[in-house]
Point group: none
Chain length 205, copies 4
């Protein structure tokens, strides 16, 4: 039983409406192009009310991005047991693509570099951390150096984000699972297949 007074419920409701409105309008117009007025109008709330709930536009966006990653993690965590297998990771990647398909606006905002420089940095770090979380195996500390795992995380995050953004803009007829499997294959096997198919001479390596 959430024992909230009507006041408190009303307040939370307003806050939520601002978040939803911002999510939509920012996705539609871009972060910089969106004014506080655009958000409050979409939320059917007065301009002043905004500042009752958020310090400024960046503050609200931070919450939006944070919530996005929280949700993403909740979607992915069920697949990740302590002793995880490659098969689990594959499922996790599929879950990420499903999530991005269902939350295109938010995904774009989280990872499309539309927000301010600071927020983008925050988001990218969130994602790299998320990837490390994905790949991290308990009890293997020290087997791979911190540097190496960060390199891997950046690599995976970069490739994954780019493919994800490319795909939600136009799916080219590919399903979430196809995208995930494609990414998974490249990550595990590299592109030697593709490259050899392309006819590159590997003899001089």
């Amino acid at each position: 039983m959430t024992d909230l007074t009507r006041h408190e419920r009303r307040k939370l409701d307003t806050r939520r409406r601002l978040l939803e409105a911002a999510r939509q309008v920012i996705a539609a117009r871009g972060y910089e192009a969106t004014g506080v007025l655009d958000i409050t109008e979409a939320a059917d709330v007065s301009k002043g009310t905004f500042y009752l709930h958020f310090k400024d536009k960046e503050d609200l966006t931070r919450v939006l991005i944070h919530e996005g990653f929280e949700e993403l993690r909740q979607r992915v965590d069920p697949y990740l047991t302590a002793n995880r297998t490659l098969g689990q990771i594959k499922e996790a990647i599929r879950a990420v693509f499903h999530y991005s398909a269902e939350n295109r606006d938010l995904f774009r905002l989280m990872l499309g570099h539309q927000a301010s420089a600071e927020l983008n940095l925050m988001a990218i770090n969130y994602y790299a951390e998320f990837v490390e979380h994905l790949l991290r195996q308990e009890g293997t500390a020290g087997r791979t150096s911190a540097l190496q795992s960060e390199l891997v995380a950046q690599f995976v995050a970069g490739a994954g984000v780019r493919l994800g953004l490319w795909w939600i803009e136009d799916d080219h007829g590919l399903s979430p699972d196809e995208m995930a499997d494609f990414l998974f294959q490249f990550l595990t096997e590299g592109m030697s297949n593709v490259i050899s198919v392309a006819g590159l001479d590997t003899g001089t390596l």
Copy 2:
């Protein structure tokens, strides 16, 4: 040779000073946070002069990014013969990392998603096209589908850009060649080594 009047040389000189100033100041403060006034002050030129040379801030930035990719391509092209080998591609990737180390500001501007949404899109397309140029092999048309090569290009571009940006922010003691080789290894072989080292159980795949 240079059949320019002094007038014309003077004008080009001013234009160049604006470009250089913009490059530095945008890299330092970010695209959106940079006003035209910041640029002209850094160039020690009056505000009106800016509009004599460029339509607006975006116009100038477009030139900056375009020039960056032109220069990058010139650095890379010598390594790419018609019948290219994997070894050549490795050299090309090394050249890219050397370039990014020598032009950190510009590289950040080109690929750091600091500019406007439109310019970022332009830059990302430039880069994907650049990667396709890198991987394209003559005489293999049809062997790989257009869709597949676009997927590969997005994958490579995403991973490469992210590693590059991560590295120029803090090199973590890694040389350009080490970075390039790391990227090259991952691209060709995938991360099976790393992953197996991490102790992931591959049995269930």
Copy 3:
């Protein structure tokens, strides 16, 4: 009666102050020479407030001119019954001169051609329409052609405006009624008296 919240009254008050300030400052400096800043400073209001109430300078001026003609018509209408006499018209003209004496600034703005080309055109049309309203007699439709009454309106408007502007710049010791009677006499009798006094030979006509 006035079912306005204090908020609304406050807003209308600010609007009115802007209109009054604009009226004075435009009359003093001219339309083109007056900046929005001049108006807001005279109204003791911030620059941004202006755009809360008016789209731009032209918008405000349009309101000013419109209000002026509304007021003028209200001053004049009591004298004009359906079956009007020349005597009524004389009284109406006197009312116009009284009005112009009491509202020199606004009169200059309305008819002094200081505003933008578009506004001047609007004002001149207002005035010609006003003159037609003054001279129009019910039940005489068809007796004078539309063309002829337009010619008359232009003639009367031109002469009246010019005399009015001349007079409010320097009254030369003439009272409003004297001016009105002078204009009325010329309009009704023409200038044959004056001309003959001037010694022009009328024999050759």
Copy 4:
């Protein structure tokens, strides 16, 4: 024999081209909306050259208006002998309408209140003076007071200018002579005819 060096001829030529260009472009766009650049481009002359010949835009426009009135006076003077008759004045008025038809652009600039407040004042004074010149009869000094003749001049100027501007915008099928005769009739006889036709009751005067 105009003994001008090529230099001098060239200079005068440039000056004339600027004047012609200004006349056209100001007529087309209006005085305020016309920039110096618009004029120099139309004259196919560099921007700096403008300031070699004129102090500023207002200076050039002054010359334009001055020339216009000079030409107008030359057109009208032949009709005006020392002992002038009403018939001569009628011819003079006809000449004015012919002139305005042939020089619509310039006429609009001279009397259409498009220029700056100062220039408009200058023009209106030119015209009032022109009208006084038209109506002045030698040897009658003192018969009419200075004040009275100024009143008449303002009346005639106002009515004439308004009719002229109305007519050059759309001639409504009326010839210059018809316009002139119409104006002449109203000036001499007043509008009693028109008014009585309109059915106004004159009994109460």
